[in-house]
């Protein structure tokens, strides 16, 4: 890098960098995303999506040029507070964007709440972020773990299944997703006869698959992502269960994992706030642009990144780039309708997307939409004072 930047760093370490940025200074956006570890690929997709949108806006939001500062959060909650402080206190960022891991997002939410920095969460579905931790300056462009689960609960009930077994990792995201499923499913008269868990991130499923076979439920609901999702789907097929006991899941089961699942995921039904072959112009344009920019097909994470930037733009436009006007920023965002590749969505009072959840069926390497499972679904946002 150049000498100037190095000097700035040195100054920052020594502590002479408490310069405040005037309005014509670039807007500092802190990207706190995983660059290493299991979620590294997700972090990249989110960043790509975010930058695609800002590029479309001529690298300016709310009249201010944008400068990115990146921190690798390693998906490690034990380091999360320090990493987020590095952005808030060390780099004095105006906006905070992150992250994938729920535990890390929890730490970010706390730091953002205390410092008042605007935070946009582009993935982590922890309910607390828009629940007990909800705050005028915290927004989420993705989903809450509860949402896809709830929608799938309704779908599975409609299919006529009465007794269902759920299986997930024993961690917050899994618990919340299963809770959503139970809410949706039992409302329609279904019964979850057993909730199976295995320690995160253990991927030895055979024992639990055998247990499923012995319980003989009408269907199975599952929440897995990444490597665990690949292995679960393959093992489920190999155990011969796929043909006898239908498998349903939150969308991450087949998102970005179909290729690795090597055909074993074919035909799986999942619910998510995004799908392939959505019939809307925005999505088509987004896909073309993303493909051109990164030589990759976009995924749901890229959409979430893209929409995080959209949320930011709406807020910043309303305050002409002055991030200190938090109330106006929030009011504008709450009032806005976002034209997202996923379809139109709004933000609830707790700042979680109120969005359509799609039912998708895995075909080849894609998850084309079948129908809208639940229209304009809002997270109950338990514990949020604004709700």
């Amino acid at each position: 890098m150049n000498l100037f930047k190095t000097t700035v760093i040195a100054a920052a370490i020594l502590g002479f960098s408490s310069l405040s940025y005037a309005e014509d200074k670039p807007l500092k956006v802190g990207l706190m995303l995983p660059a290493t570890g299991t979620f590294a690929a997700l972090g990249t997709a989110i960043e790509n999506g975010f930058k695609l949108y800002t590029k479309e806006q001529g690298d300016k939001l709310g009249g201010r040029a944008i400068e990115f500062v990146k921190v690798d959060d390693e998906s490690d909650p034990a380091k999360a507070t320090d990493n987020v402080n590095k952005l808030i206190k060390g780099e004095n960022v105006d906006i905070l964007v992150g992250t994938v891991h729920s535990g890390v997002a929890m730490a970010m939410a706390k730091a953002a709440k205390e410092s008042g920095t605007i935070l946009i969460v582009p993935n982590a579905g922890a309910q607390a972020v828009t629940g007990p931790m909800c705050s005028p300056n915290i927004f989420r462009s993705s989903f809450s773990n509860w949402q896809p689960g709830y929608a799938m609960g309704e779908v599975v009930a409609q299919k006529g299944h009465k007794k269902v077994v759920t299986i997930t990792w024993k961690y917050a995201a899994g618990d919340e997703s299963v809770q959503g499923f139970k809410d949706g499913f039992s409302k329609s008269g279904g019964e979850v006869i057993k909730e199976l868990n295995l320690p995160f991130p253990n991927v030895e499923f055979q024992a639990l698959l055998t247990e499923i076979a012995s319980l003989k439920p009408d269907a199975v609901y599952t929440f897995f992502a990444g490597g665990g999702a690949v292995k679960f789907v393959k093992d489920y097929k190999a155990a011969g269960l796929k043909d006898s006991i239908p498998l349903y899941g939150a969308g991450f089961l087949t998102d970005g994992t179909l290729e690795a699942q090597g055909g074993d995921g074919e035909g799986l039904l999942t619910t998510l706030h995004y799908a392939d072959q959505l019939d809307n112009a925005k999505d088509k344009a987004f896909r073309t642009a993303y493909n051109e920019a990164y030589k990759l097909p976009p995924d749901v994470y890229a959409v979430q990144g893209y929409d995080a930037a959209q949320i930011l733009k709406v807020g910043l436009d309303a305050v002409q780039g002055d991030v200190s006007k938090k109330a106006e920023f929030a009011a504008a965002v709450e009032a806005a309708k976002f034209d997202s590749p996923r379809g139109e969505f709004t933000l609830s009072k707790a700042h979680n997307p109120v969005q359509d959840i799609y039912l998708r069926e895995a075909k080849g390497k894609e998850n084309p939409v079948i129908s809208v499972a639940t229209k304009a679904l809002a997270d109950p946002a338990k514990g949020c004072a604004a709700n």
Partner: protein, 293 residues
């Protein structure tokens, strides 16, 4: 749990145990004989799995493919890697404090993880099992069992027997065993201990990589997979008694059973059971199940 389900669970436990043994074998070799606490063992496993993924198109292009040619080429590369690593990073460490080796292997973990990210990327990948092993056999009324898993179990058993034979019946095995108990003595017998160590290390790396390659079709290939198996491997080796092939074998099966039935019968405590088992065994037998003298 009726009888047929119970039997299937036993099969699951056995199969998982054998898989653990396969992965832990290389560790017990390096750990038991050279006394090196090799934190990078998981990385070698990861390297193996990624080789199974990344080499197959290359091999397919050059030799017309085949799972087994990938396996052979991967093994050769792993031996070369192990040989090189011992020469470059470990050969000067034996006289030093053991904890220095820990630091070294920790550094290697970081390096390998990033090289993986640079070379292959951070995506999750599946590896196809060879065609003729891809089928399943029916089990009970609605379950089936993948043939490839049975194949892995068979390979594990063969390897276990092979290792046992090498250790107890061959001259190399004798030298290795002697080298683990008394370095000076072996040296005074005119055996090149440096070469011996290099061979053992290379063999350990090759075993780990082999485990990664052969289990890639069932485990899938993903970032951070190495550190996941590392701790459980140490548990296997330590419960079994360091350096004992027999002990590692038994310990792996034990863990297989505890883990499998724990998940089903005591799901709340599934994560902690293995460690409770280890603590109990070591309190009962402070040197593991089979202490090598």
């Amino acid at each position: 749990m009726d009888l047929s389900i119970f039997l299937i669970q036993c099969l699951n436990a056995l199969q998982y145990g054998l898989l653990l043994f396969l992965v832990a074998m290389g560790l017990t070799l390096i750990f038991g004989i050279m006394g090196v606490i090799n934190l990078a063992h998981g990385s070698f496993y990861m390297i193996g799995a990624y080789m199974a993924y990344a080499l197959s198109p290359i091999v397919a292009h050059a030799f017309g493919g085949g799972f087994f040619s990938v396996l052979v080429i991967g093994l050769i590369l792993a031996v070369i890697l192990g040989y090189f690593l011992e020469w470059a990073f470990f050969s000067f460490l034996y006289d030093r404090d053991h904890l220095q080796q820990v630091l070294m292997t920790y550094g290697l973990i970081l390096v390998f993880e990033e090289l993986r990210s640079l070379l292959v990327g951070d995506d999750v990948h599946g590896v196809a099992a060879p065609e003729f092993l891809a089928g399943t056999i029916p089990l009970g009324d609605i379950m089936t069992y993948p043939v490839y898993r049975l194949f892995i179990s068979a390979v594990c058993l063969l390897l276990a027997l092979g290792m046992y034979y090498v250790f107890t019946r061959t001259r190399l095995g004798m030298m290795i065993r002697a080298g683990s108990t008394n370095r000076e003595m072996v040296q005074s017998l005119g055996i090149d201990i440096k070469l011996l160590y290099r061979i053992v290390f290379a063999a350990g790396v090759a075993l780990a990589a082999f485990a990664g390659m052969i289990s890639a079709p069932v485990s899938t290939v993903y970032p951070g997979m190495g550190s996941q198996v590392l701790i459980i491997c140490f548990v296997v080796v330590v419960i079994g008694g360091i350096g004992s092939i027999r002990g590692a074998f038994l310990a792996a099966l034990l863990i297989g059973f505890v883990d499998t039935f724990g998940k089903v019968l005591l799901p709340e405590a599934a994560g902690v059971l293995v460690y409770v088992l280890m603590a109990l065994i070591l309190l009962w037998k402070p040197d593991g199940l089979f202490k090598t003298s």
